[in-house]
C-alpha cells in the first residue's frame, strides 16, 4: 500500500475511533447491566431498529427510482430538483421537524387532508417517527445511488434492451445489480442516519416510550438526568449497529461477488 494513501487512512481511522474509544473508557461498565435491565431501553432499541429499517425500505422504494430519474432523465429544472432533493441534509434537524409538522402535522398543509380523508395522523405515532427518519435519511440514499447510476456503463443496458428486456427489466436485472455496491453504501448511510436521528423525530413525533421514543431520544433524556447512563445507552446503540452492519453488509457484498 502506498504510504501516501496509508498515512492519511491511518489518521482517518485514529480520528474517527479516538472518540469512540473515549466513550468506551468513560463508560460506566458496572452500571451497564442496570441500564440495560430497564425495560424502556430494550423497547427503545427495538423501536429504533424497526423504524430505521422501515425508513430505509421506504427510502429504497421511493428514493432509488428518484435517483434513477435524476441521473438519467433530461428536463428543464433538473439541476434545481437535484439540489432541492439534498436540502433535508442541510436543514437543521429540529427545523426539519418543524417543517414536517407544517406539512404533515394535524393542521399541516397535507396533514389536514390526510386526517380528514383517511383518518391518518402522523405526529406522535410510530409512523410519524418513520416519516421523520425517512425525510432526514432518504437524501443520503438518493445522492449516493444517483452518483452510481451516473457512472454505470450504459453499454450493458443497451445490450439488455436488444435482448428484449423492457426498461423495467433492464433496471431490475442489469442496472441495479451493476450498482450493487453503491446501493449497499447508500442503504448503510440511510439506515445509520435514520438510527441516529434525533432532532426531527422528537419535534415531529414527540417522545412517548414504546411508541415514539427511539434510542437517541432515550439518550437525550438520559443526558438530562445522568450523562453516564447516556454514554452507556449510546454504546448499546453502537454495539447493535456494528453487529447489524458487520453481519448484514458483508453477507450482501459477498452474495454477488464483486464484478
Amino acid at each position: 500500500m502506498p504510504w501516501v494513501l496509508g498515512v492519511p487512512a491511518t489518521l482517518a481511522v485514529l480520528f474517527l475511533l479516538a472518540p469512540l474509544l473515549g466513550l468506551l473508557v468513560r463508560a460506566p461498565w458496572r452500571d451497564l447491566g442496570n441500564v440495560l435491565a430497564e425495560s424502556q431501553v430494550l423497547q427503545a432499541l427495538r423501536l429504533s431498529l424497526v423504524c430505521a429499517s422501515a425508513a430505509t425500505v421506504i427510502s429504497l422504494v421511493l428514493g432509488v427510482p428518484l435517483a434513477w430519474v435524476l441521473a438519467r432523465a433530461r428536463f428543464r429544472g433538473l439541476r434545481l430538483l437535484r439540489a432541492l432533493v439534498t436540502l433535508p441534509l442541510v436543514l437543521p434537524p429540529v427545523v426539519g421537524g418543524v417543517a414536517l409538522l407544517i406539512a404533515f402535522g394535524r393542521r399541516g398543509i397535507v396533514g389536514q387532508h390526510l386526517d380528514a380523508w383517511f383518518g391518518i395522523t402522523l405526529p406522535f405515532t410510530t409512523q410519524g417517527v418513520i416519516v421523520a427518519e425517512t425525510f432526514v435519511a432518504m437524501p443520503f440514499l438518493i445522492v449516493t445511488v444517483e452518483g452510481a447510476f451516473r457512472a454505470a456503463d450504459r453499454g450493458y443496458e443497451e445490450a439488455a434492451a436488444t435482448l428484449g428486456a423492457s426498461r423495467m427489466t433492464v433496471f431490475r436485472r442489469v442496472t441495479l445489480p451493476l450498482i450493487r455496491s453503491s446501493l449497499m453504501a447508500g442503504s448503510v448511510l440511510c439506515w445509520a442516519r435514520a438510527l441516529g436521528e434525533f432532532g426531527a423525530t422528537i419535534t415531529f413525533a414527540g417522545n412517548f416510550p414504546g411508541r415514539t421514543q427511539t434510542m437517541p431520544i432515550a439518550v437525550y433524556l438520559a443526558l438530562e438526568q445522568d450523562p453516564e447512563a447516556a454514554i452507556a445507552l449510546s454504546l448499546v446503540l453502537l454495539a447493535v449497529s456494528v453487529a447489524v452492519l458487520v453481519g448484514l453488509r458483508d453477507r450482501w457484498l459477498r452474495a454477488g461477488s464483486a464484478p
Binding site: 409538522l101 419535534t203 414527540g206
Partner: protein, 240 residues
C-alpha cells in the same frame, strides 16, 4: 377555558378523572414528573398519564402545530407565551422556580469559591446563551452582583453547560440547582447568595383543546397541590 371542578387532593377519584392525559413537559422536569404521574395514577385508578418530555421550545411547536396535548409544563414563560399567543392555552400558572448555582468540576481545579472568582482571567466559564432561560437568569444575577463575566462559550441549554463542567472543559458554569443535584458527585455546587441570585419560572397550563380536559385539569391541580410541591422540592425546585 378555565378550571373546572377542583379535584380533591388524594382520596377517591372523581367521576371525571379517567382516561389518558398527555402531558408535555420540559425535559428538566423528567424525574419529578415521572413520580408525580405515578402518584396521580395511583390516586385516580383508570387514569393514565403519558409524558412527552422534550425541549420546551420543541414542545411549544408541537402544541401550536396541533398535537393532542392536554397539559403543558414549560421550563420558560417564553415558550408558554407562544402557546398562549396561538390560542392553545388561556391561564398558565407558575408552579416552580429554579434558582442558579455555580457548578465546578469536583476537583475544582481553578479553586472557584465565589461568584467573584468567575471574573478571574484564568477561569474558563460557560454560561447559557442570553436568549435561553438559564442564560437570562445568569445575566440577571451578574447584573445584580455588579460583575462582568466573560464566558468562553454561550451554550444553548443548561445541559451543555453542565457537561462542559463535568468533563473539565471549563472551570465553572452557572446552572440550575436541580442540575447540580442531578449530576451527583461529578460536580460541586457553589451556592449563590440569595440577594443576587436569579431564577427562572416554570409555568403549567391545561390546554384549551385538551381532548381529556377534566382529567387534565385534575393533573394540573395535583402538580400545584401540596403533595405535588413536595415531590418537586425534593428534586431541588423552589416554590414560585
Amino acid at each position: 377555558g378555565g378550571s373546572s371542578a377542583p379535584t380533591p387532593m388524594g382520596g377517591s377519584s372523581s367521576a371525571t378523572s379517567k382516561g389518558t392525559v398527555n402531558v408535555f413537559a420540559a425535559a428538566s422536569l423528567q424525574e419529578a414528573f415521572a413520580t408525580l404521574g405515578k402518584q396521580f395514577e395511583a390516586a385516580h385508578p383508570g387514569t393514565r398519564i403519558v409524558f412527552n418530555f422534550g425541549p420546551s421550545s420543541g414542545l411549544a411547536q408541537q402544541i401550536t402545530q396541533g398535537s393532542p396535548a392536554d397539559v403543558f409544563a414549560s421550563a420558560s414563560t417564553k415558550n408558554m407565551d407562544q402557546v398562549v399567543t396561538a390560542g392553545d392555552s388561556a391561564q398558565p400558572t407558575p408552579f416552580v422556580k429554579n434558582v442558579m448555582e455555580i457548578a465546578v468540576p469536583s476537583a475544582n481545579p481553578a479553586g472557584v469559591t465565589s461568584l467573584n472568582d468567575l471574573t478571574r482571567k484564568n477561569v474558563k466559564v460557560a454560561l447559557c446563551q442570553p436568549q435561553v432561560p438559564c442564560g437570562a437568569a445568569a445575566a440577571a444575577l451578574f447584573q445584580n452582583a455588579g460583575l462582568a463575566v466573560q464566558p468562553v462559550t454561550q451554550e444553548v441549554d443548561v445541559k451543555s453547560v453542565l457537561s462542559k463542567v463535568t468533563l473539565g472543559e471549563v472551570d465553572a458554569g452557572v446552572v440550575y440547582v436541580t442540575d447540580v443535584r442531578a449530576a451527583g458527585d461529578k460536580v460541586k455546587g457553589i451556592e449563590i447568595p440569595t440577594d443576587v441570585n436569579a431564577s427562572t419560572t416554570y409555568p403549567i397550563a391545561t390546554l384549551t383543546k385538551a381532548p381529556n380536559k377534566a382529567t387534565a385539569q385534575a393533573f394540573t391541580d395535583y402538580v400545584l397541590s401540596v403533595d405535588g410541591g413536595k415531590v418537586l422540592t425534593a428534586a431541588g425546585f423552589q416554590k414560585p
